[in-house]
Protein backbone atom coordinates (compact mmCIF):
# COMPACT_ATOMS: atom_id res chain seq x y z
CA UNK A 1 0.00 0.00 0.00
CA UNK A 2 2.87 2.17 -0.63
CA UNK A 3 4.37 4.08 -3.47
CA UNK A 4 1.53 6.36 -4.27
CA UNK A 5 3.19 8.98 -6.31
CA UNK A 6 2.27 11.72 -3.95
CA UNK A 7 4.78 14.40 -4.56
CA UNK A 8 5.24 17.51 -2.51
CA UNK A 9 2.47 17.93 -0.05
CA UNK A 10 2.32 20.21 2.91
CA UNK A 11 2.18 18.67 6.34
CA UNK A 12 -0.79 16.40 6.16
CA UNK A 13 -2.56 18.45 3.52
CA UNK A 14 -3.02 16.43 0.34
CA UNK A 15 -1.78 17.73 -2.96
CA UNK A 16 -4.23 19.07 -5.51
CA UNK A 17 -4.31 18.01 -9.14
CA UNK A 18 -0.98 18.64 -10.79
CA UNK A 19 -2.33 19.97 -14.03
CA UNK A 20 -5.45 22.01 -14.58
CA UNK A 21 -8.06 19.98 -16.45
CA UNK A 22 -9.08 20.82 -19.97
CA UNK A 23 -11.75 19.37 -22.24
CA UNK A 24 -11.94 15.70 -21.49
CA UNK A 25 -10.23 16.48 -18.20
CA UNK A 26 -13.45 18.04 -16.96
CA UNK A 27 -15.30 14.76 -17.45
CA UNK A 28 -12.76 12.86 -15.36
CA UNK A 29 -12.89 15.56 -12.70
CA UNK A 30 -16.68 15.37 -12.76
CA UNK A 31 -16.63 11.61 -12.29
CA UNK A 32 -14.07 11.92 -9.52
CA UNK A 33 -16.23 14.52 -7.77
CA UNK A 34 -19.16 12.11 -7.88
CA UNK A 35 -16.88 9.43 -6.41
CA UNK A 36 -15.81 11.80 -3.65
CA UNK A 37 -19.43 12.55 -2.75
CA UNK A 38 -20.07 8.81 -2.65
CA UNK A 39 -17.21 8.34 -0.16
CA UNK A 40 -18.68 11.05 2.06
CA UNK A 41 -22.04 9.28 1.82
CA UNK A 42 -20.37 6.02 2.89
CA UNK A 43 -18.77 7.68 5.91
CA UNK A 44 -22.05 9.32 6.87
CA UNK A 45 -23.90 6.02 6.40
CA UNK A 46 -21.58 4.03 8.68
CA UNK A 47 -21.74 6.65 11.41
CA UNK A 48 -25.51 7.08 11.13
CA UNK A 49 -25.83 3.30 11.48
CA UNK A 50 -23.54 3.16 14.55
CA UNK A 51 -25.15 6.15 16.26
CA UNK A 52 -28.70 5.09 15.37
CA UNK A 53 -28.06 1.58 16.64
CA UNK A 54 -26.30 2.52 19.86
CA UNK A 55 -28.20 5.67 20.85
CA UNK A 56 -31.79 5.26 19.74
CA UNK A 57 -31.81 1.57 18.96
CA UNK A 58 -32.63 2.25 15.32
CA UNK A 59 -29.95 0.96 12.94
CA UNK A 60 -29.97 2.38 9.44
CA UNK A 61 -31.04 -0.41 7.09
CA UNK A 62 -29.01 -1.21 4.01
CA UNK A 63 -25.72 0.43 5.03
CA UNK A 64 -23.82 -2.85 4.72
CA UNK A 65 -25.20 -3.51 1.24
CA UNK A 66 -24.60 0.10 0.24
CA UNK A 67 -20.93 -0.05 1.29
CA UNK A 68 -20.38 -3.14 -0.85
CA UNK A 69 -21.95 -1.60 -3.94
CA UNK A 70 -20.51 1.88 -3.42
CA UNK A 71 -16.88 0.78 -3.12
CA UNK A 72 -16.94 -0.60 -6.67
CA UNK A 73 -18.52 2.62 -7.95
CA UNK A 74 -15.97 4.74 -6.06
CA UNK A 75 -13.09 2.89 -7.70
CA UNK A 76 -14.41 3.33 -11.20
CA UNK A 77 -15.56 6.91 -10.71
CA UNK A 78 -12.02 7.75 -9.59
CA UNK A 79 -10.04 5.54 -11.92
CA UNK A 80 -9.81 7.92 -14.89
CA UNK A 81 -8.69 10.83 -12.72
CA UNK A 82 -6.28 8.56 -10.88
CA UNK A 83 -4.81 7.59 -14.25
CA UNK A 84 -4.72 11.22 -15.39
CA UNK A 85 -2.58 12.14 -12.42
CA UNK A 86 -0.58 8.94 -12.90
CA UNK A 87 -1.21 7.90 -9.36
CA UNK A 88 -1.49 4.16 -9.99
CA UNK A 89 0.62 1.87 -7.88
CA UNK A 90 3.64 1.01 -9.95
CA UNK A 91 7.28 0.23 -9.62
CA UNK A 92 9.21 2.28 -12.12
CA UNK A 93 12.74 1.82 -10.90
CA UNK A 94 13.92 0.23 -14.14
CA UNK A 95 12.23 2.71 -16.45
CA UNK A 96 13.46 5.67 -14.41
CA UNK A 97 16.94 4.18 -14.70
CA UNK A 98 16.45 4.06 -18.48
CA UNK A 99 14.98 7.57 -18.42
CA UNK A 100 18.20 9.00 -17.03
CA UNK A 101 20.20 7.57 -19.93
CA UNK A 102 17.79 7.37 -22.84
CA UNK A 103 14.86 9.67 -22.04
CA UNK A 104 13.20 9.15 -25.42
CA UNK A 105 13.26 5.38 -25.08
CA UNK A 106 11.68 5.72 -21.64
CA UNK A 107 8.89 7.92 -23.07
CA UNK A 108 8.20 5.32 -25.73
CA UNK A 109 8.04 2.57 -23.08
CA UNK A 110 5.61 4.63 -21.00
CA UNK A 111 3.58 5.22 -24.15
CA UNK A 112 3.30 1.49 -24.75
CA UNK A 113 2.35 0.88 -21.13
CA UNK A 114 -0.42 3.45 -21.43
CA UNK A 115 -1.71 1.75 -24.57
CA UNK A 116 -1.77 -1.56 -22.69
CA UNK A 117 -3.77 0.22 -19.98
CA UNK A 118 -6.23 1.54 -22.57
CA UNK A 119 -6.64 -1.94 -24.05
CA UNK A 120 -7.25 -3.45 -20.62
CA UNK A 121 -10.00 -0.96 -19.79
CA UNK A 122 -11.64 -1.53 -23.19
CA UNK A 123 -11.66 -5.27 -22.48
CA UNK A 124 -13.29 -4.52 -19.13
CA UNK A 125 -16.00 -2.43 -20.83
CA UNK A 126 -16.59 -5.18 -23.40
CA UNK A 127 -17.19 -7.88 -20.81
CA UNK A 128 -19.07 -5.77 -18.27
CA UNK A 129 -21.75 -4.66 -20.78
CA UNK A 130 -23.57 -8.04 -20.56
CA UNK A 131 -23.52 -7.86 -16.77
CA UNK A 132 -25.00 -4.37 -16.92
CA UNK A 133 -27.85 -5.36 -19.26
CA UNK A 134 -28.55 -8.45 -17.16
CA UNK A 135 -28.86 -6.37 -14.00
CA UNK A 136 -30.82 -3.62 -15.72
CA UNK A 137 -33.34 -5.87 -17.41
CA UNK A 138 -33.60 -8.24 -14.47
CA UNK A 139 -34.10 -5.35 -12.05
CA UNK A 140 -31.73 -6.99 -9.56
CA UNK A 141 -31.22 -5.37 -6.19
CA UNK A 142 -29.32 -5.85 -2.95
CA UNK A 143 -30.99 -5.84 0.44
CA UNK A 144 -34.09 -7.44 1.93
CA UNK A 145 -37.33 -7.45 0.00
CA UNK A 146 -39.98 -5.18 1.48
CA UNK A 147 -37.43 -3.55 3.76
CA UNK A 148 -34.77 -1.85 1.71
CA UNK A 149 -33.79 -2.49 -1.88
CA UNK A 150 -30.84 -0.92 -3.64
CA UNK A 151 -30.84 -1.50 -7.41
CA UNK A 152 -27.51 -2.88 -8.63
CA UNK A 153 -27.50 -1.51 -12.19
CA UNK A 154 -26.49 2.10 -11.43
CA UNK A 155 -23.37 0.80 -9.70
CA UNK A 156 -22.47 -1.52 -12.59
CA UNK A 157 -23.17 1.45 -14.87
CA UNK A 158 -20.47 3.48 -13.15
CA UNK A 159 -18.04 0.65 -13.88
CA UNK A 160 -18.83 1.00 -17.59
CA UNK A 161 -18.59 4.79 -17.67
CA UNK A 162 -15.47 4.88 -15.51
CA UNK A 163 -13.65 2.16 -17.43
CA UNK A 164 -14.49 3.82 -20.76
CA UNK A 165 -13.21 7.16 -19.47
CA UNK A 166 -10.05 5.49 -18.19
CA UNK A 167 -9.46 3.93 -21.63
CA UNK A 168 -9.72 7.35 -23.27
CA UNK A 169 -7.48 8.83 -20.60
CA UNK A 170 -4.83 6.19 -21.23
CA UNK A 171 -4.90 6.87 -24.97
CA UNK A 172 -4.35 10.58 -24.25
CA UNK A 173 -1.47 9.76 -21.94
CA UNK A 174 0.04 7.46 -24.56
CA UNK A 175 -0.18 10.19 -27.21
CA UNK A 176 1.57 12.59 -24.88
CA UNK A 177 4.40 10.15 -24.18
CA UNK A 178 4.84 9.31 -27.86
CA UNK A 179 4.94 13.05 -28.60
CA UNK A 180 7.71 13.43 -26.02
CA UNK A 181 9.53 10.44 -27.50
CA UNK A 182 9.51 12.20 -30.86
CA UNK A 183 10.78 15.32 -29.16
CA UNK A 184 7.78 17.58 -29.78
CA UNK A 185 6.76 19.76 -26.84
CA UNK A 186 3.71 18.85 -24.74
CA UNK A 187 0.33 19.76 -26.10
Amino acid sequence: MTDFKDNERGEGVPARAHSSPSGFGWLTVGLSTAGTLLIIAMAVGVNADILGRELINRPVPGVTEFLGLAIVAVVFLQIADTSREERHISNDLIVSWIAERHPRLAYAIYGIFHLIGAAMFLIIVWFVVPIFTENYQGGYYKGTAGYIQIPVWPFVGTVLVGAAAAAVQYVLLALREFGRAKGTPDV
Binding site: M1, T36, I39, L67, T82
Partner: protein, 444 residues
Amino acid sequence: MSEITIGAICMLASLVLIQSGLHIGIALMLVSFLGVWGIKNVAVAGKLLASSVTTSIASDTFGVIPLFVIMGLFVSATGMGRDTFDVAAHVTRRLRGGLGIATVAANAVFAACTGTSIASASIFTKVAVPQMVRHGYQLPFAVGVVTGSSVLGMLIPPSLLMIIFGVLANTSIGDLFTAGIVPGIVLAASFSLCIFTLSIWQPERVFKGLSAHDRGEFDDIPLRALLAKVIPVGILIFIVLGGIYGGYFTPTEAGGAGAFAAFLIGVARREITLKIFWDVSIETGKITAAICFVLMAAQLYSQMLTLSGLPYAVGQWLQSANLNFVVILFGYLAVVVLLGCFLDSLSIMLIILPFVLPVIDGFGVNLVWFGLITIVAIEIGLLTPPLGMSVFVVKANLGAADITTWRIFMGTMPMTITMSLFLLVVVFFPSLSLVLLGKSWSWW
Protein backbone atom coordinates in the same frame (compact mmCIF):
# COMPACT_ATOMS: atom_id res chain seq x y z
CA MET B 1 1.11 -26.52 -23.13
CA SER B 2 -0.12 -27.85 -19.81
CA GLU B 3 -2.23 -25.73 -17.53
CA ILE B 4 0.45 -25.68 -14.86
CA THR B 5 2.98 -24.41 -17.39
CA ILE B 6 0.61 -21.59 -18.33
CA GLY B 7 0.21 -20.73 -14.66
CA ALA B 8 3.96 -20.66 -14.16
CA ILE B 9 4.53 -18.53 -17.27
CA CYS B 10 1.85 -16.11 -16.11
CA MET B 11 3.48 -15.81 -12.72
CA LEU B 12 6.83 -15.06 -14.27
CA ALA B 13 5.31 -12.63 -16.78
CA SER B 14 3.53 -10.70 -14.06
CA LEU B 15 6.73 -10.29 -12.08
CA VAL B 16 8.62 -9.11 -15.17
CA LEU B 17 5.87 -6.67 -16.21
CA ILE B 18 5.55 -5.23 -12.72
CA GLN B 19 9.31 -4.86 -12.49
CA SER B 20 9.46 -3.04 -15.78
CA GLY B 21 7.01 -0.44 -14.49
CA LEU B 22 3.59 -1.37 -15.84
CA HIS B 23 0.95 -0.43 -13.27
CA ILE B 24 0.59 -3.37 -10.92
CA GLY B 25 -3.18 -3.64 -11.32
CA ILE B 26 -3.03 -3.51 -15.11
CA ALA B 27 -0.18 -6.06 -15.21
CA LEU B 28 -1.95 -8.56 -12.97
CA MET B 29 -5.26 -8.16 -14.79
CA LEU B 30 -3.76 -8.52 -18.25
CA VAL B 31 -1.69 -11.57 -17.38
CA SER B 32 -4.61 -13.27 -15.59
CA PHE B 33 -7.01 -12.54 -18.44
CA LEU B 34 -4.63 -14.03 -21.00
CA GLY B 35 -3.84 -16.90 -18.64
CA VAL B 36 -7.48 -17.91 -18.16
CA TRP B 37 -7.96 -17.54 -21.92
CA GLY B 38 -5.09 -19.98 -22.47
CA ILE B 39 -6.33 -22.45 -19.85
CA LYS B 40 -10.04 -22.31 -20.68
CA ASN B 41 -11.29 -19.93 -23.37
CA VAL B 42 -11.94 -16.26 -23.94
CA ALA B 43 -15.55 -16.42 -22.75
CA VAL B 44 -14.54 -17.75 -19.34
CA ALA B 45 -11.69 -15.23 -19.18
CA GLY B 46 -14.12 -12.39 -19.88
CA LYS B 47 -16.62 -13.64 -17.32
CA LEU B 48 -14.01 -13.90 -14.60
CA LEU B 49 -12.61 -10.48 -15.51
CA ALA B 50 -16.05 -8.87 -15.38
CA SER B 51 -16.89 -10.48 -12.08
CA SER B 52 -13.54 -9.47 -10.61
CA VAL B 53 -14.22 -5.81 -11.32
CA THR B 54 -17.92 -5.80 -10.42
CA THR B 55 -18.21 -8.21 -7.50
CA SER B 56 -14.84 -9.28 -6.09
CA ILE B 57 -14.57 -6.32 -3.74
CA ALA B 58 -18.31 -5.64 -3.49
CA SER B 59 -18.65 -6.29 0.23
CA ASP B 60 -18.69 -4.09 3.27
CA THR B 61 -15.27 -5.43 4.35
CA PHE B 62 -13.66 -3.81 1.33
CA GLY B 63 -16.16 -0.97 1.49
CA VAL B 64 -14.48 0.37 4.60
CA ILE B 65 -11.11 0.84 2.86
CA PRO B 66 -11.82 4.49 1.97
CA LEU B 67 -12.99 5.08 5.53
CA PHE B 68 -9.66 3.91 6.95
CA VAL B 69 -7.82 6.03 4.40
CA ILE B 70 -9.89 9.12 5.18
CA MET B 71 -9.37 8.58 8.91
CA GLY B 72 -5.60 8.64 8.39
CA LEU B 73 -5.80 11.74 6.24
CA PHE B 74 -8.05 13.60 8.68
CA VAL B 75 -5.69 12.81 11.53
CA SER B 76 -2.77 14.01 9.39
CA ALA B 77 -4.60 17.20 8.49
CA THR B 78 -4.85 18.13 12.15
CA GLY B 79 -1.80 19.09 14.17
CA MET B 80 -2.14 15.91 16.24
CA GLY B 81 0.99 14.36 14.70
CA ARG B 82 3.17 17.31 15.67
CA ASP B 83 1.58 17.49 19.11
CA THR B 84 2.20 13.81 19.79
CA PHE B 85 5.79 14.18 18.71
CA ASP B 86 6.28 17.31 20.86
CA VAL B 87 5.03 15.56 23.95
CA ALA B 88 7.11 12.44 23.30
CA ALA B 89 10.18 14.59 22.67
CA HIS B 90 9.54 16.40 25.95
CA VAL B 91 9.29 13.15 27.88
CA THR B 92 12.50 11.74 26.37
CA ARG B 93 14.46 15.02 26.38
CA ARG B 94 17.08 13.94 28.88
CA LEU B 95 17.76 10.66 27.11
CA ARG B 96 20.51 10.12 24.58
CA GLY B 97 18.86 9.54 21.24
CA GLY B 98 15.71 10.92 22.83
CA LEU B 99 14.31 12.47 19.67
CA GLY B 100 14.66 9.17 17.83
CA ILE B 101 12.84 7.38 20.62
CA ALA B 102 10.21 10.12 20.62
CA THR B 103 9.63 9.47 16.92
CA VAL B 104 9.08 5.79 17.60
CA ALA B 105 6.73 6.55 20.49
CA ALA B 106 4.75 9.08 18.47
CA ASN B 107 4.46 6.56 15.64
CA ALA B 108 3.18 3.91 18.04
CA VAL B 109 0.55 6.26 19.44
CA PHE B 110 -0.37 7.38 15.95
CA ALA B 111 -0.70 3.78 14.80
CA ALA B 112 -3.51 3.36 17.29
CA CYS B 113 -5.60 5.97 15.54
CA THR B 114 -4.83 5.26 11.89
CA GLY B 115 -5.07 2.09 9.88
CA THR B 116 -2.34 2.58 7.32
CA SER B 117 1.36 3.33 7.48
CA ILE B 118 1.33 5.84 4.61
CA ALA B 119 -0.21 8.46 6.87
CA SER B 120 2.42 8.05 9.58
CA ALA B 121 5.33 7.81 7.14
CA SER B 122 4.45 11.05 5.39
CA ILE B 123 3.58 13.04 8.49
CA PHE B 124 6.65 12.14 10.56
CA THR B 125 8.96 12.72 7.64
CA LYS B 126 7.73 16.29 7.79
CA VAL B 127 7.50 16.68 11.56
CA ALA B 128 10.29 14.60 13.07
CA VAL B 129 13.08 14.59 10.50
CA PRO B 130 13.70 18.39 10.44
CA GLN B 131 13.69 18.48 14.26
CA MET B 132 16.18 15.63 14.51
CA VAL B 133 18.48 17.17 11.92
CA ARG B 134 18.34 20.51 13.74
CA HIS B 135 19.44 18.77 16.91
CA GLY B 136 22.49 17.24 15.29
CA TYR B 137 21.21 13.89 14.04
CA GLN B 138 22.56 12.44 10.80
CA LEU B 139 19.94 12.85 8.07
CA PRO B 140 20.03 9.19 6.94
CA PHE B 141 19.60 8.02 10.51
CA ALA B 142 16.70 10.40 11.13
CA VAL B 143 15.00 9.27 7.94
CA GLY B 144 15.72 5.64 8.81
CA VAL B 145 14.02 5.99 12.18
CA VAL B 146 10.90 7.41 10.56
CA THR B 147 10.84 4.75 7.84
CA GLY B 148 11.38 1.94 10.31
CA SER B 149 8.84 3.05 12.86
CA SER B 150 6.14 3.74 10.28
CA VAL B 151 5.63 -0.03 10.03
CA LEU B 152 4.10 0.12 13.51
CA GLY B 153 1.00 1.48 11.78
CA MET B 154 0.26 -1.92 10.29
CA LEU B 155 0.90 -3.86 13.47
CA ILE B 156 -0.96 -1.81 16.06
CA PRO B 157 -4.73 -1.86 15.57
CA PRO B 158 -6.66 -0.71 13.68
CA SER B 159 -4.87 -2.01 10.60
CA LEU B 160 -6.08 -2.19 7.04
CA LEU B 161 -3.59 -4.94 6.23
CA MET B 162 -5.04 -7.12 8.99
CA ILE B 163 -8.54 -6.59 7.64
CA ILE B 164 -7.45 -7.82 4.23
CA PHE B 165 -5.63 -10.79 5.74
CA GLY B 166 -8.70 -11.61 7.78
CA VAL B 167 -10.82 -11.64 4.63
CA LEU B 168 -8.38 -13.79 2.65
CA ALA B 169 -7.71 -16.28 5.40
CA ASN B 170 -11.25 -16.25 6.76
CA THR B 171 -9.98 -15.31 10.21
CA SER B 172 -11.52 -13.03 12.80
CA ILE B 173 -10.39 -9.46 12.16
CA GLY B 174 -11.05 -8.55 15.77
CA ASP B 175 -8.71 -11.34 16.92
CA LEU B 176 -6.02 -10.15 14.51
CA PHE B 177 -6.31 -6.62 15.90
CA THR B 178 -6.00 -7.86 19.46
CA ALA B 179 -3.06 -10.07 18.53
CA GLY B 180 -1.15 -7.09 17.15
CA ILE B 181 -1.17 -5.08 20.38
CA VAL B 182 1.55 -6.82 22.43
CA PRO B 183 3.92 -7.42 19.47
CA GLY B 184 3.39 -3.79 18.42
CA ILE B 185 4.45 -2.55 21.84
CA VAL B 186 7.40 -4.96 21.90
CA LEU B 187 8.52 -3.75 18.47
CA ALA B 188 8.27 -0.10 19.50
CA ALA B 189 10.32 -0.90 22.62
CA SER B 190 12.91 -2.78 20.52
CA PHE B 191 13.22 0.16 18.13
CA SER B 192 13.72 2.51 21.08
CA LEU B 193 16.32 0.23 22.64
CA CYS B 194 18.12 -0.01 19.30
CA ILE B 195 18.25 3.78 18.97
CA PHE B 196 19.40 4.27 22.56
CA THR B 197 22.10 1.61 22.24
CA LEU B 198 23.38 2.97 18.94
CA SER B 199 23.53 6.54 20.20
CA ILE B 200 25.81 5.45 23.04
CA TRP B 201 27.76 2.70 21.34
CA GLN B 202 28.19 4.19 17.86
CA PRO B 203 27.35 7.88 18.23
CA GLU B 204 29.05 8.66 14.92
CA ARG B 205 26.32 6.71 13.13
CA VAL B 206 23.61 8.68 14.86
CA PHE B 207 24.97 12.17 15.29
CA LYS B 208 26.98 14.58 13.21
CA GLY B 209 30.19 15.12 15.13
CA LEU B 210 30.82 13.68 18.55
CA SER B 211 29.68 16.49 20.79
CA ALA B 212 26.28 17.10 19.28
CA HIS B 213 23.42 15.47 21.05
CA ASP B 214 20.12 16.67 22.11
CA ARG B 215 20.50 16.79 25.87
CA GLY B 216 18.86 19.78 27.47
CA GLU B 217 18.25 21.71 24.32
CA PHE B 218 14.52 21.98 24.77
CA ASP B 219 12.46 24.69 26.30
CA ASP B 220 10.35 23.54 29.17
CA ILE B 221 6.77 23.04 28.11
CA PRO B 222 4.33 23.79 30.95
CA LEU B 223 2.16 20.88 32.08
CA ARG B 224 -1.01 22.59 30.91
CA ALA B 225 0.32 22.91 27.36
CA LEU B 226 1.44 19.28 27.42
CA LEU B 227 -2.03 18.16 28.44
CA ALA B 228 -3.60 20.28 25.71
CA LYS B 229 -1.40 18.45 23.20
CA VAL B 230 -2.11 14.98 24.59
CA ILE B 231 -5.85 15.12 25.19
CA PRO B 232 -7.14 15.23 21.58
CA VAL B 233 -5.04 12.22 20.55
CA GLY B 234 -6.08 10.46 23.73
CA ILE B 235 -9.75 11.05 22.98
CA LEU B 236 -9.35 9.73 19.45
CA ILE B 237 -7.59 6.54 20.55
CA PHE B 238 -10.16 6.09 23.30
CA ILE B 239 -13.01 6.33 20.78
CA VAL B 240 -11.44 4.01 18.20
CA LEU B 241 -10.11 1.28 20.48
CA GLY B 242 -12.77 1.78 23.15
CA GLY B 243 -15.46 1.51 20.49
CA ILE B 244 -14.07 -1.74 19.15
CA TYR B 245 -13.41 -3.43 22.48
CA GLY B 246 -16.50 -1.96 24.14
CA GLY B 247 -18.57 -3.62 21.41
CA TYR B 248 -20.05 -0.35 20.13
CA PHE B 249 -18.84 -0.98 16.61
CA THR B 250 -17.04 -3.69 14.68
CA PRO B 251 -13.34 -3.48 13.74
CA THR B 252 -14.37 -2.85 10.13
CA GLU B 253 -16.63 0.02 11.19
CA ALA B 254 -13.79 1.54 13.22
CA GLY B 255 -12.49 3.36 10.15
CA GLY B 256 -15.77 5.22 9.72
CA ALA B 257 -16.15 6.02 13.41
CA GLY B 258 -12.49 7.08 13.67
CA ALA B 259 -12.79 9.29 10.60
CA PHE B 260 -15.82 11.00 12.09
CA ALA B 261 -14.12 11.49 15.45
CA ALA B 262 -10.92 12.83 13.83
CA PHE B 263 -13.06 15.15 11.72
CA LEU B 264 -14.88 16.52 14.78
CA ILE B 265 -11.61 17.03 16.67
CA GLY B 266 -10.11 18.76 13.64
CA VAL B 267 -13.12 21.06 13.32
CA ALA B 268 -13.10 21.83 17.04
CA ARG B 269 -9.40 22.75 16.78
CA ARG B 270 -10.20 24.87 13.72
CA GLU B 271 -7.74 22.83 11.69
CA ILE B 272 -10.16 21.24 9.24
CA THR B 273 -11.75 23.82 7.01
CA LEU B 274 -14.25 23.14 4.24
CA LYS B 275 -11.41 23.23 1.72
CA ILE B 276 -9.26 20.74 3.64
CA PHE B 277 -12.31 18.51 4.14
CA TRP B 278 -12.90 18.45 0.39
CA ASP B 279 -9.21 17.99 -0.48
CA VAL B 280 -8.95 15.10 1.97
CA SER B 281 -12.06 13.47 0.49
CA ILE B 282 -10.72 13.76 -3.07
CA GLU B 283 -7.34 12.41 -2.03
CA THR B 284 -9.09 9.51 -0.30
CA GLY B 285 -10.81 8.64 -3.55
CA LYS B 286 -7.56 8.50 -5.48
CA ILE B 287 -5.78 6.34 -2.91
CA THR B 288 -8.84 4.09 -2.65
CA ALA B 289 -9.05 3.67 -6.41
CA ALA B 290 -5.37 2.79 -6.65
CA ILE B 291 -5.54 0.25 -3.80
CA CYS B 292 -8.83 -1.32 -4.81
CA PHE B 293 -7.96 -1.67 -8.47
CA VAL B 294 -4.92 -3.71 -7.45
CA LEU B 295 -7.17 -5.74 -5.13
CA MET B 296 -9.55 -6.55 -7.98
CA ALA B 297 -6.68 -7.53 -10.24
CA ALA B 298 -5.09 -9.66 -7.56
CA GLN B 299 -8.33 -11.58 -7.01
CA LEU B 300 -8.53 -12.37 -10.70
CA TYR B 301 -4.88 -13.35 -10.56
CA SER B 302 -5.42 -15.81 -7.74
CA GLN B 303 -8.43 -17.30 -9.58
CA MET B 304 -6.25 -17.75 -12.63
CA LEU B 305 -3.59 -19.48 -10.53
CA THR B 306 -6.19 -21.77 -8.97
CA LEU B 307 -7.52 -22.69 -12.42
CA SER B 308 -4.00 -23.49 -13.59
CA GLY B 309 -3.60 -25.94 -10.71
CA LEU B 310 -0.23 -24.47 -9.85
CA PRO B 311 -0.93 -23.86 -6.14
CA TYR B 312 -2.28 -27.40 -5.84
CA ALA B 313 0.78 -28.81 -7.57
CA VAL B 314 3.09 -26.85 -5.33
CA GLY B 315 1.15 -28.11 -2.32
CA GLN B 316 1.41 -31.70 -3.54
CA TRP B 317 5.09 -31.29 -4.19
CA LEU B 318 5.66 -29.88 -0.72
CA GLN B 319 3.78 -32.82 0.78
CA SER B 320 5.58 -35.43 -1.27
CA ALA B 321 8.90 -33.82 -0.46
CA ASN B 322 7.88 -34.52 3.12
CA LEU B 323 9.29 -31.21 4.26
CA ASN B 324 8.78 -30.47 7.87
CA PHE B 325 6.96 -27.42 9.08
CA VAL B 326 10.08 -25.49 10.03
CA VAL B 327 11.47 -25.63 6.50
CA ILE B 328 8.15 -24.56 4.99
CA LEU B 329 7.70 -21.78 7.53
CA PHE B 330 11.12 -20.26 7.00
CA GLY B 331 10.97 -20.79 3.26
CA TYR B 332 7.66 -18.92 3.27
CA LEU B 333 9.02 -16.05 5.35
CA ALA B 334 12.05 -15.76 3.07
CA VAL B 335 9.82 -15.59 -0.02
CA VAL B 336 7.60 -12.96 1.61
CA VAL B 337 10.55 -10.77 2.57
CA LEU B 338 11.92 -11.18 -0.94
CA LEU B 339 8.58 -10.23 -2.54
CA GLY B 340 8.43 -7.25 -0.20
CA CYS B 341 11.51 -5.94 -1.98
CA PHE B 342 9.54 -5.31 -5.14
CA LEU B 343 5.81 -5.47 -4.49
CA ASP B 344 3.51 -3.55 -2.20
CA SER B 345 2.10 -5.22 0.89
CA LEU B 346 -1.44 -5.83 -0.41
CA SER B 347 -0.27 -7.45 -3.65
CA ILE B 348 2.08 -9.75 -1.76
CA MET B 349 -0.71 -11.06 0.43
CA LEU B 350 -3.05 -11.50 -2.49
CA ILE B 351 -0.47 -13.31 -4.57
CA ILE B 352 1.12 -15.61 -2.02
CA LEU B 353 -1.74 -16.51 0.32
CA PRO B 354 -3.63 -18.67 -2.22
CA PHE B 355 -0.50 -20.82 -2.40
CA VAL B 356 0.33 -21.05 1.21
CA LEU B 357 -2.98 -21.13 3.09
CA PRO B 358 -3.96 -24.67 1.97
CA VAL B 359 -0.49 -25.96 2.82
CA ILE B 360 -0.40 -24.21 6.18
CA ASP B 361 -3.90 -25.43 7.02
CA GLY B 362 -2.64 -29.02 6.91
CA PHE B 363 -0.34 -28.29 9.82
CA GLY B 364 -3.09 -26.96 12.08
CA VAL B 365 -1.40 -23.61 12.38
CA ASN B 366 -3.03 -20.79 14.33
CA LEU B 367 -4.04 -18.40 11.55
CA VAL B 368 -4.03 -15.30 13.74
CA TRP B 369 -0.38 -15.86 14.58
CA PHE B 370 0.30 -16.71 10.95
CA GLY B 371 -1.28 -13.43 9.84
CA LEU B 372 0.91 -11.53 12.24
CA ILE B 373 4.19 -13.06 11.08
CA THR B 374 3.09 -12.54 7.47
CA ILE B 375 2.54 -8.83 8.09
CA VAL B 376 5.85 -8.40 9.92
CA ALA B 377 7.74 -10.24 7.15
CA ILE B 378 6.06 -8.11 4.47
CA GLU B 379 7.01 -4.93 6.30
CA ILE B 380 10.65 -6.06 6.53
CA GLY B 381 10.67 -6.48 2.77
CA LEU B 382 9.38 -2.94 2.42
CA LEU B 383 12.46 -1.67 4.25
CA THR B 384 15.12 -3.61 2.37
CA PRO B 385 17.00 -2.84 -0.85
CA PRO B 386 16.89 -2.91 -3.77
CA LEU B 387 13.26 -1.78 -3.90
CA GLY B 388 11.88 -1.18 -0.43
CA MET B 389 8.71 0.76 -1.10
CA SER B 390 8.42 2.46 2.30
CA VAL B 391 11.77 4.03 1.61
CA PHE B 392 10.48 5.54 -1.61
CA VAL B 393 7.39 6.95 0.08
CA VAL B 394 9.57 8.64 2.67
CA LYS B 395 11.93 9.91 0.01
CA ALA B 396 9.03 11.35 -2.00
CA ASN B 397 7.74 13.12 1.10
CA LEU B 398 11.17 14.37 2.03
CA GLY B 399 11.51 16.08 -1.32
CA ALA B 400 15.21 16.63 -0.61
CA ALA B 401 17.62 15.93 -3.41
CA ASP B 402 20.56 15.74 -1.02
CA ILE B 403 19.86 12.21 0.15
CA THR B 404 20.05 9.19 -2.10
CA THR B 405 17.79 6.19 -1.76
CA TRP B 406 20.83 4.13 -0.92
CA ARG B 407 21.72 6.32 2.08
CA ILE B 408 18.14 6.03 3.33
CA PHE B 409 18.48 2.24 3.12
CA MET B 410 21.71 2.44 5.09
CA GLY B 411 20.08 4.72 7.65
CA THR B 412 17.17 2.32 7.98
CA MET B 413 19.48 -0.69 8.38
CA PRO B 414 19.56 -0.69 12.21
CA MET B 415 15.75 -0.68 12.23
CA THR B 416 15.62 -3.41 9.60
CA ILE B 417 17.95 -5.63 11.64
CA THR B 418 15.91 -4.94 14.77
CA MET B 419 12.77 -5.89 12.90
CA SER B 420 14.28 -9.13 11.59
CA LEU B 421 15.20 -10.14 15.14
CA PHE B 422 11.70 -9.14 16.20
CA LEU B 423 10.24 -11.38 13.49
CA LEU B 424 12.17 -14.33 14.94
CA VAL B 425 10.80 -13.52 18.39
CA VAL B 426 7.22 -13.41 17.09
CA VAL B 427 7.80 -16.66 15.16
CA PHE B 428 9.27 -18.52 18.13
CA PHE B 429 6.91 -17.13 20.75
CA PRO B 430 3.37 -17.34 19.39
CA SER B 431 2.15 -16.62 22.91
CA LEU B 432 3.26 -13.02 22.39
CA SER B 433 0.52 -12.62 19.81
CA LEU B 434 -2.03 -14.90 21.45
CA VAL B 435 -1.73 -13.86 25.08
CA LEU B 436 -4.46 -11.20 24.93
CA LEU B 437 -6.77 -13.68 23.20
CA GLY B 438 -6.30 -16.06 26.10
CA LYS B 439 -5.14 -18.80 23.76
CA SER B 440 -2.06 -20.88 23.99
CA TRP B 441 -0.64 -22.57 20.96
CA SER B 442 2.81 -23.28 19.70
CA TRP B 443 4.30 -25.00 16.71
CA TRP B 444 7.37 -26.34 18.50
